[in-house]
Amino acid sequence: MTQDAAPHTFVAESRELLRDMEDALLTLEQAPGDADAINAVFRAMHTIKGSAGVFGFDVIVEFTHVMEGVIEEVRAGRAGVDGMLVALLLACGDHVSLLIDCLESPDRLAKLEAARSSGTDLLLQLQCYRESACEGDAAPGLESGLPAAEASAAGAGSVASGAWHLSIRFGRAVLQHGMDPLSFIRYLSTLGEVDSVTASFDAMPEASTMDPQACYVGLEIQFSGTVSRQDLEGAFEYVRDDSTIRILPPHAPIAEYMDLIRSLPEDQAKLHQTFVECGALTPGELEQGLKMSDTQLSQACGTDNGTVSAGPHDSKGAAGIPAAQEPGKARNGADSSRYVRVHAGKLDELINLVGELVIASAGVNLCARDGGSDLREATASMSRLVEEVRDGALTLRMVPIGDTFNRFKRVVHDLGRELGKDVELVITGADTELDKSMVEKLSDPLMHLVRNALDHGIESTSARLLRGKPARGKLQLNAYHETGSIVIEVHDDGGGLDRERILARAVERGLAQPGQALSDREIFQLIMEPGFSTADELTSISGRGFGMDVVRRNIEALRGTVTIDSAAGEGTGIALRVPLTLAIIDGFLVGVGSATCVVPLEMVVECLEFSAEDRQGAREGGYINLRGELLPLLRLRDVFDTQGEPGKRENIVVVQYAGRRAGFVVDALLGEFQTVIKPLGKLFERLAGISGSTILGTGEVALILDVQALVERAERSESARTAVTGEHRTWSGSGSAPEKPSSNIERRATC
């Protein structure tokens, strides 16, 4: 049954648990007494172990079992947490992650076996921890301390049997859910000795109504082993909801057994025979039990603790597994029930459909314009609903960047240790959301930036102290939204970039002219040129000078930008600005000649008429005076080389990107439009100024403008003009000369 069906859920959930465990371990390093963190680590291992056992992945079970034992020592207070243990457990977590990865290939069992050996070293280290924790323990060899407590409570009224008794009546749907009672029996035998199994099929109806895919199995099992109740309960975690499970500890009171027998559906006489034959009850004990009155039974079972004295794990007594989960047991936190796992492909399909819906409704709207007002009203409300569905569907794909940021905790931790630097990672804006598809593409560039910051940015502890800085360095990851983009900042409080040195190196390499006036930002941008490095030595981490170039290319491939700021001695901040590439955006239609273009609405600031006088002024310059502000203009007719003369009326759409503004001169303003982004084919991908296409209600194709590229172009042509003509602007009314727009290295080449 389980051979072919890949345990996707198990893999996904195990990975989440491993991440939780890693977080908890990192917390423990700072706060060794944190009980929640210790429990989180235990829970993760325990759950993975239990589930792995159900599937029969013995390699995983064996490894996690040993880990669990060590963590148990910590939980019970017999061992303390120190840096070495945390490092060991982190390494063990990595090994488990490796084992989980094995599950994704078709020959998983073979791969697991092969991976077994790479864990032996870790197992040895774990064993050493176990042994040293157990040294001096009054009762050596007791893993959980429980059997001793159980045994000492044996006395009159308790059964002689030192075995656990498990009584299970599986739910009908167990097989359909992919479980099998056989797995449990097999798993139990890895935990200890299965002394006896009595199977009951009484629940199976007669042939005509028997459902061959339903599970009618009941089991009474006698089990011997040094386990805790939790170990046994954990084994049944996946069937707990459907099935009735009751666990009686060794030397449980006879009354408990009688209560159990009474609760079972089978014929009582037959059950009596079963319980004696399987060794749970001696004939004498059975007799005793049958003589007990009702009151005696309810009294004995009423107390929560049963026979067990304060053993650390048996807080629920022998009364069976409670319906409610332990408060600490909720995986994924309190919200676990509110999340649904959805296949990413399904989401993509849904969004495609919504896109088609938007286009179709645009067509309907068009037709409705000629219809009566009733029709227009109906289509208007439909449009509103379609917009909401659109927004809802798109947010499904958004994930908070916090998940990505959190992965860096481990990176900073390990790298800090490797470099011998004490660095604190501060994360802000973790809730900022971005499209799922972008997350993967950003993690590599971010990784590089973080490693750079740790390696080159933050100085060694001694250097920091000499400079009067706190010994602990700070690396900050921040994220926020800004007009249709997401900005991700990596900031370190290290030594900053050496402006002079970078300039000197750039001049050496011919990337800049000596004496050229470049702003600080422009100089810092130079470090992203391929092969550029001011590091005097290569480290294994960075320094080859190829990393920043790759970062920039990756970000530019996402149509984003990289900005670098730095202050000598204080630190460096790198901002990645990437558009939130949504599949459907609010757009603003404009007419350029006979063509229609779309400007992303988020970037539109305002629209105005291009008056005759302004046109006059703009003919000489390439700008207008917008309420005292210089606004570079870009004639889209020129950009697209539209034939013919512009009409009498022209309009300006003022757009904004990353704090910079420009005005697009267009012929007509055509209003808002829900724009479904259709990607351009490979042939047209590199077109500057176009970022996609869409289909209008009429079926026509409209091009989506790449505002960022066009804004830059507008600024460039404006400054090119000033450079060529040497003109200086004077303003009537405003005092200062226009600020030279920011340049970049490319511009030199084109001038």
Partner: protein, 105 residues
């Protein structure tokens, strides 16, 4: 996959099942087993070539045996593969099937 063979008029039917005997084949196997049981005076079940068995498969054996008992027809497991044997052993049900005179189930 199941193959039914008849050993003779008025005699037992022998049903041979090969390949997996799991929840996936259970619906079909149930039908075949019951048909085979109805067809003869008794039923012999040959599982020597069953390479995989799960609880669903086992339940069908239990069902067949019970129906046989109700109809007064003997049901015997004549051959079992290792996979089948393992399942029977886990459930401690081997005595019920190998020796038809054993009580229970």
């Amino acid at each position: 996959m199941a193959i039914t063979t008849r050993t003779g008029e008025g005699a037992d039917t022998r049903i041979t099942i090969e390949g997996p005997m799991t929840v996936y084949e259970a619906i079909e196997h149930k039908r075949e087993l019951l048909e085979a049981l109805a067809a003869g005076a008794g039923l012999e079940i040959d599982l020597a070539n069953v390479d995989e068995m799960d609880t669903a498969g086992l339940q069908l054996l239990v069902l067949a045996q019970r129906e046989g008992r109700n109809a007064g027809k003997p049901v015997r497991l004549v051959r079992a593969s290792e996979a089948v044997a393992e399942v029977l052993n886990r459930y401690r049900l081997a005595p019920c099937f190998i020796d038809p005179a054993a009580p229970r189930a």
